[in-house]
Amino acid sequence: MNAAVETRSAPRALRQPSVLPGFGLTFGFTTFFLSAIVLLPLAALVLMSLRLSWSEFWEVILDPRAVGSYRLSFGASLLAAGINLVFGFIIAWTLVRYEFPGKRIIDALIDMPFALPTAVSGIALTTVFAQNGWIGQYLEPFGIKVAYTWIGVTVALTLIGMPFMVRTVQPALAEVQKDLEDAAETLGAGRFHIFRRIILPTVLPAMLTGFALAFARAVGEYGSVIFISGNLPMKTEITPLLIVIKLEEFDYRGAAALGTVMLFISFIMLLAINLLQAWGRRRHTRTGR
């Protein structure tokens, strides 16, 4: 509303007049630094991949080893984001709706995967889920191998994505109006009916945003995965690792081609996340809260 009025009053001006100083300095520094550190290097990546001809480019990115790595990277990331969709909701629900001893510490620890270096979570998860590890030893008799398989990759990606889901769903769940639930219950709605008709519609945009954030983060993840994955070509090799291998073989163009594919996917995810968040905001304003 406000923005619409402002645009109408100054349709051609690049910037609204203001008494505050420093626009030129701060805007100039921001765009210069952004270009130097982020934009030009990313452009160099795309340009490097253009040194390949079209057929060479396709050959690199559709190479069976590369396709195998996409399958693992995207498959495990989707699965991990799906696991987080369920468990992230349960954790967010627990933290929003229930009181129990130690809740504040648990709430603070949700951010741990953000703050913990990925190399640390990588070696720690590998140790816990190895055949003789704390958890791995109980899965071993059932024939479930976690470390050095795709299951381990999924476990690492689940841990990395968990805070994104919980922190996105938590505020949305806190918004659910309890009086609506109570009213529905008084009118005879069952538990699942209330969940489906009142709670789910309110938190759905947040859950999808969390899913997309967790997925986007997982696809690019490197540090926590390479320790637990075993890194066998075609089997447990993720795409970021394949890029590193190509660089170590001084195949800069091949690395750039794969990097361009991943960058393209990052852009699509970024767009999807922005659209989901805009949808969530629209819903939010429409319900009048």
Partner: protein, 290 residues
């Protein structure tokens, strides 16, 4: 104390919700808390505990002795140096970006915000790769740099650049929403009353946003010290020279020196815990990060 409060809330909830089946509610509650705790125990608490049990597996002497390894010392120094360069630069950038974006209305603003967030969406491997493609031997400026005997990749400048890329948005994205929310009224009053630009910034704006700034800086620092993927690509893994702490963990781990690897990991874990403690303290002042 804690239990009685929980019971009280439990009772209150039931008093206001007469229709609810108490037994089912209690069961659902236990189920949700149980599943949450089990999930976090397996995925988060067990790995955290492992770091310290593995580090102390052979006793305190072995733990402390692992820090006297000169390569470990060099890795710690390099990590501290990198953070000491990167965090102040990204803090200045974050303040400048937040001032331009929050204090003024201009076209393409949301596009600029998206671009600032870009490093968060990009794989860390790509964050390192771009600098190798620019400054590596077969990169765009590789030959020129070699002729002039300048090394960026596989040396300190590359590590700093890659870390800067990865931690680029952290301060800015804390400050932008905070400054937008706090508004410009005080700043406009200060300027109208004759305060200079810098005075307004240091005496009005900075005190207003200080907790958000602290929050952004500690997050930026945690990521700078812990970055693995991007730095791994540009560092070249030269022991004692271009090995940061996370890279040194990888080397020690692959050499089956588990006490050494987890000893270094325990330091970074403590840093992460410290980061979360500062974050909780900042949130207690009323500032809520997003």
């Amino acid at each position: 104390m804690m239990a009685s409060r929980a019971t009280q809330i439990f009772v209150d909830e039931h008093a206001t919700r007469p229709g609810r089946d108490t037994l089912t509610t209690a069961f659902v509650r236990a189920f949700f808390i149980g599943v949450s705790l089990l999930f976090l125990a397996a995925l988060l608490f067990a790995p955290l505990a492992t770091v310290f049990t593995m580090a102390l597996e052979k006793g305190y002497e072995a733990y402390l002795a692992s820090f006297s390894d000169p390569d470990t010392g060099a890795a710690i120094r390099l990590t501290l140096l990198t953070a000491a360069v990167v965090v102040p630069i990204n803090t200045v950038f974050g303040l400048a970006a937040a001032w331009a974006i929050a204090k003024f209305e201009f076209r393409g603003k949301s596009f600029l915000i998206t671009l600032i967030d870009l490093p968060l969406a990009v794989s860390p491997v790509i964050s390192g790769l771009v600098y190798v493609l620019l400054f590596g031997l077969q990169g765009w400026f590789g030959l020129w740099l070699q002729e002039h005997d300048i090394s960026i990749v596989f040396a300190l400048p590359g590590i700093i650049l890659a870390t800067m890329f990865v931690t680029f948005p952290y301060v800015a994205r804390e400050l932008i929403p905070l400054m937008q929310q706090l508004g410009n009224d005080e700043e406009e009053a200060a300027i109208t009353l004759g305060a200079g630009a810098w005075m307004t910034f240091f005496r009005v704006t900075l005190p207003k946003v200080r907790w958000g700034l602290v929050y952004g800086v500690i997050l930026c620092n945690a990521r700078a010290m812990g970055e693995f993927g991007a730095v791994s690509v540009v560092s070249g893994h030269i022991r004692g020279v271009t090995n940061t702490m996370p890279l040194h963990i990888e080397i020690l781990y692959n050499e089956y020196n588990f006490v050494g690897a987890f000893a270094v990991a325990s330091l970074l874990t403590l840093l992460a815990v410290l980061t979360l403690v500062v974050k909780s303290l900042v949130e207690r002042t009323g500032y809520k990060g997003h």
